[in-house]
């Protein structure tokens, strides 16, 4: 018998937990004012507010307009949790490794090569990428294959904006993303955990879906290094590892790319890796998840939703056996 059970048992917060947008905003600016006004009090605020914490850490702001179409009713994970509990194997395989080891990553100058089956292959520097389309803030749920989840306000624009610019040919059926693999900056590469560089991929229609976000920031700031700076993918209906971080190359291909985790353990990490409560990972159930920072010790884990609750994408997979193509 649980000591405390959420009475509704579904993935929606109590209405009392939802902060109305205007209050959320005003709280932010209020905190900012205090943080700027009273540097002494800043250390106190570090614990209570992600925004202040990020400012104290000297993060660079990134202006974005909130997109009301992509706001979930869940409480955002604290900036501290979201930036200290990360999987980014290039910086080490413990959750605390990325925040400890990613500090020296040089994110400028940075270029992303776009090549393969496109009419206009190009190499874009990070500034041109930032200017390519208007920045939007989107609050997405993030579900990790390990059974935990977060809610993160990302900043970026739909990947489709970039894809349209490079004009894929009729042969382009898949997109492949390659993460930076630089031994001098990434100590995790010494461990033969995965085949480096880290490669992930999408089918073209998945990549074109408006939910697929090319992201440059979070929580009003540019991405911290441990979260995939300066540019990463965010695919909220897939497990977190599908979203490549610190991207240096985007290739358009005829055939399905070989992806890092699929190569490492095909039985456990399929090419699609859509969030699916009915397909267990061989090592654990995917039926439930623990919301980082919000679900206390005595709160029952929440039920995982099909496609992480993003049912818009269901049409991409109509007629597909998602148990087979997990």
């Amino acid at each position: 018998m649980p000591l405390y059970r959420r009475p509704n048992g579904i993935d929606l917060p109590f209405s009392s937990e939802i902060t109305p947008q205007d209050i959320f905003e005003s709280r932010r600016s209020f905190i900012k004012q205090i943080a700027v006004g009273a540097v002494g009090a800043g250390s106190l605020l570090q614990l209570s507010s992600g925004e202040a914490w990020a400012q104290a850490a000297g993060a660079q702001k990134l202006a974005a307009k909130a997109n009301p179409a992509y706001v979930v009713m869940d409480k955002a994970t604290s900036y501290k949790d979201a930036t200290t509990y990360n999987n980014f194997y290039e910086f080490g395989s413990d959750k605390s490794d990325p925040v400890e080891n990613a500090g020296n990553l040089k994110t400028r100058p940075w270029t992303v090569a776009i090549e393969g089956e496109v009419k206009k292959p190009m190499t874009l520097d990070i500034d041109s990428l930032l200017k390519l389309a208007p920045m939007e803030e989107r609050i997405y749920r993030l579900r990790c294959v390990e059974g935990w989840s977060m809610v993160i306000p990302w900043i970026g624009y739909s990947l489709s904006e970039l894809i349209k610019k490079v004009e894929p040919t009729g042969n382009a059926r898949y997109v492949e993303f390659t993460t930076l693999a630089d031994n001098r900056q990434m100590p995790g590469l010494r461990a033969p955990v995965l085949e480096w560089p880290y490669v992930e991929g999408l089918r073209m229609d998945e990549a074109m879906h408006p939910l697929a976000l090319l992201s440059f920031g979070m929580y009003g700031q540019v991405l911290p290094n441990q979260s995939g700076a300066p540019v990463r993918m965010v695919l909220p209906w897939k497990y977190g590892f599908k979203s490549a971080k610190s991207i240096v190359k985007i290739r358009f291909l005829k055939d399905q790319p070989r992806t890092a985790w699929n190569i490492a353990a095909a039985r456990e990490y399929g090419f699609y890796s859509n969030v699916n409560p009915d397909v267990d990972h061989p090592r654990w159930s995917q039926a439930t998840e623990r919301r980082i920072g919000e679900d206390g010790f005595f709160t029952k884990k929440r039920k995982t939703l099909m496609f992480n609750g993003y049912n818009d994408v269901a049409s991409l997979y109509s007629g597909m056996d998602l148990k087979k193509y997990f």
Partner: protein, 222 residues
């Protein structure tokens, strides 16, 4: 050769007890000072699992160390170390039962049956139960030394299952550094025992040869 006086031994034992309790105290302190990280339950699960393996390894170190140093008094510390292995194992299991399954025994058993890595971890924990229960002097007397020793040798299997549990858990993340380290240590500790047994059997065989010779001699006398 170091041989502590009763007073010194008492001190060593008390010190070991306090040291062995530190990982648990650390969890408590971290818990109350918000230092268990973003996923406190994972932190507790991993820490208690690690310490179960550490203490299992330490219990397995006692015999070889005693043999090599002739510090026979070490054997008197082993029960406490073993009980600490059980203590951290219980903490590990309770965290799983409580915070992963919220005491839904049916759900838990489904997990145990379905997932090999949990299956072996669960078996290892269940196997520790009789060892903990028969750790008293009274139980040793009741069972008789031989049978007690036979039962308590199952700790070898527990250690191996513990490593397998850890190995399979890490296989999901392809991170074998620590399981390899633990596995090597346990393998070395068990191999030392195989070596001891082989040497003893050598002695034993020699003894039984003489016995046979004696017996063969006897009939001719009658």
């Amino acid at each position: 050769m170091f041989n502590p006086s009763p007073k010194q031994f008492k001190f060593i034992k008390a010190l070991l007890f306090v040291l062995a309790l530190l990982p648990a105290v650390r969890l408590l302190v971290f818990g109350f000072t918000d230092r268990l990280g973003a996923n406190p339950i994972e932190f507790i699960t991993r820490s208690s699992g690690d310490w179960t393996l550490y203490f299992l390894c330490i219990t397995l170190v006692v015999t070889p160390l005693r043999r090599f140093t002739n510090w026979n008094w070490l054997i008197k510390l082993r029960r406490m170390i073993g009980l600490f292995a059980f203590f951290y194992g219980s903490l590990h299991f309770t965290t799983f039962l409580w915070f992963d399954h919220f005491f839904d025994i049916a759900e838990m058993l489904k997990d145990v049956v379905k997932r090999p890595f949990i299956t072996v971890g669960f078996i290892a924990f269940v196997m520790l139960l009789p060892l903990a229960l028969t750790s008293t002097n009274g139980m040793i007397r009741r069972l008789g030394g031989k049978r007690w020793q036979w039962l308590h040798r199952s700790v070898y299997a527990v250690a191996m299952l513990g490593i397998l549990h850890f190995w399979w858990m890490r296989a999901g993340k392809h991170n074998f550094e620590k399981p390899i380290l633990f596995g090597t240590i346990v393998a070395a500790l068990l191999l030392i025992r195989v070596y001891f047994a082989w040497r003893n059997r050598g002695d034993g065989a020699a003894k039984s040869r003489t016995a046979v010779q004696k017996r063969q001699v006897t009939p001719t006398l009658t």
